[in-house]
Each structure stands twice: as structure tokens, then as C-alpha cells.
Amino acid sequence: MYNNNDYEWNVFINCPFDKQYEPVFHAIIFAVMDSGYIPRSAQESSDSGEVRIQKIVKIIKSCKFAIHDISRTDLSPEKKLPRFNMPLELGIYLGAKYFGDKKQKSKNCLILDTEQFRYQIFLSDLAGQDIRSHNNEPEKAIRCVRDWLSSLHPELQYPGGKEIYNRYKLFLYDLPKICRETKLSIEELTFTDYSRTIYEWLKLNENNH
């Protein structure tokens, strides 16, 4: 079951989890939180007893909003095959939106790629969806996410993309020192640790940039 109150603020982040993508992923998490939303990811639960796809379905069900990054289309160097997890999870999300109840039908998502019209080559059925490009740049990803999220609750005042990015740079400056204090290395931070650190940091620094 999902918490009714959180559904309106939960944002499912469907993206690659590799090292190369990490700067964009971390910037997206920060932008979601600084815009007043709750980031959700398949990485948040370490319950190994649960089948992964069930866990993902449960999270998707609890999120009104989602960010799907379909930029990772490269073939893996060893296997010479692409990763299909992101398009699969995008499909589950769209399925919930089209076949779900009234609440699920209210779902709204942002689709990101490295270039705006590249999807026409490998995922042409997405035509008609709003797809934004981040060019693998954290600053651009923050702007895309902030602009989209601010349109979902227009009754609220949001910080600008540049302001969020400046705050994010300040957070990155503090993060290694915070990790030293907590005796964890940055590499060891789980999705939940990272989100909680952003939350505590924003509570103290949301007016700094």
C-alpha cells in the first residue's frame, strides 16, 4: 500500500546506476529534493527477500511522478548488448498510467536523454512524449528537473535552476567533510544515506547559494 499523502510528492527516478552516470544521478536527486519532492529509487530498499521487479512495481505505484533517463543505450564492452532496465521500467510506469485507476492515471513523467530527438532512432513509439536533453551535464539535468517539477505544483514558489545548481556545488564542497565526520566514504553512501544527507543539509542551507 502507498501512503496517500506522499503519492503527490513522490518522484520515481529511473536511470542508470553506473559510475559514469553518477554525477547526473546525484544532481537529479538534489534537484528533486530542493524542489520539495521526495526522490524514490529501486536502490532505496535492501530487502533481498523481495523480487526486484515487485519492489520496482511497488515504488512505481507509490509515485505520481517519475523521471526516466533513457540515455544509456550503449552496448556493454564485454557482452556487446545494451541495458534494457530503463525502457522496461518506463513501460511499467506508462502501463500503470494508462491501465490503472483514477489515481494512477494522474501520473506525469519527464523523459531525459542525452540529445532531444535521439530516441526516434531506438524508441520511436515514444513520439508525442515530452523528452528533454541533459547532454550528460549535471547543471542541465538540474534545470530540466526543476523546470518540470515547478510546473506540477504551480501554486508554490520554487528556487530557480541556477540557484539550485549553485547550492548543489556548495553541497558537493561540504559532502567529503560530512562523510569524514560520519566515518563513511562517499563511495559507501547508499541512495538513502545520500538523500538523507541532502535533506539535513538543505534544512540548514536552503537559503545559501
Binding site: 532505496e44 514558489q157 561540504d174 565526520e181 538513502t192 544515506d193 544527507t197 535533506y199 543539509w201
Partner: protein, 52 residues
Amino acid sequence: MTRKPSRQIRPPKGKGSISNKVLKEAVKKVSEKRIDSIKKKPKSKTPTHKNK
């Protein structure tokens, strides 16, 4: 014209591996240290422009 209410920062899901107390104290310590170091920086000696 009335100003829109500001967005509110919301706590994330899950407990994580760091205790709340330790994390809060670490963030506070690091943030305060940074703010203090900015305050202590000597002011620039470049003269300000005056209206002629």
C-alpha cells in the same frame, strides 16, 4: 500582489546506515565551519567606486 508560498523540503524514505543524530551533527558542524570561515575572511582592500 501576494507572494506564492515557498516549496517545502520533504524528508526522504528509509533509514539508511548513519544514525540521525550523527548525521545531523556532522552536517551542522561542517556547515557552520564553512560559514565561519567565510565570515573570518579578510575583506578586500580594493576601494569601492564613489559617485563623482
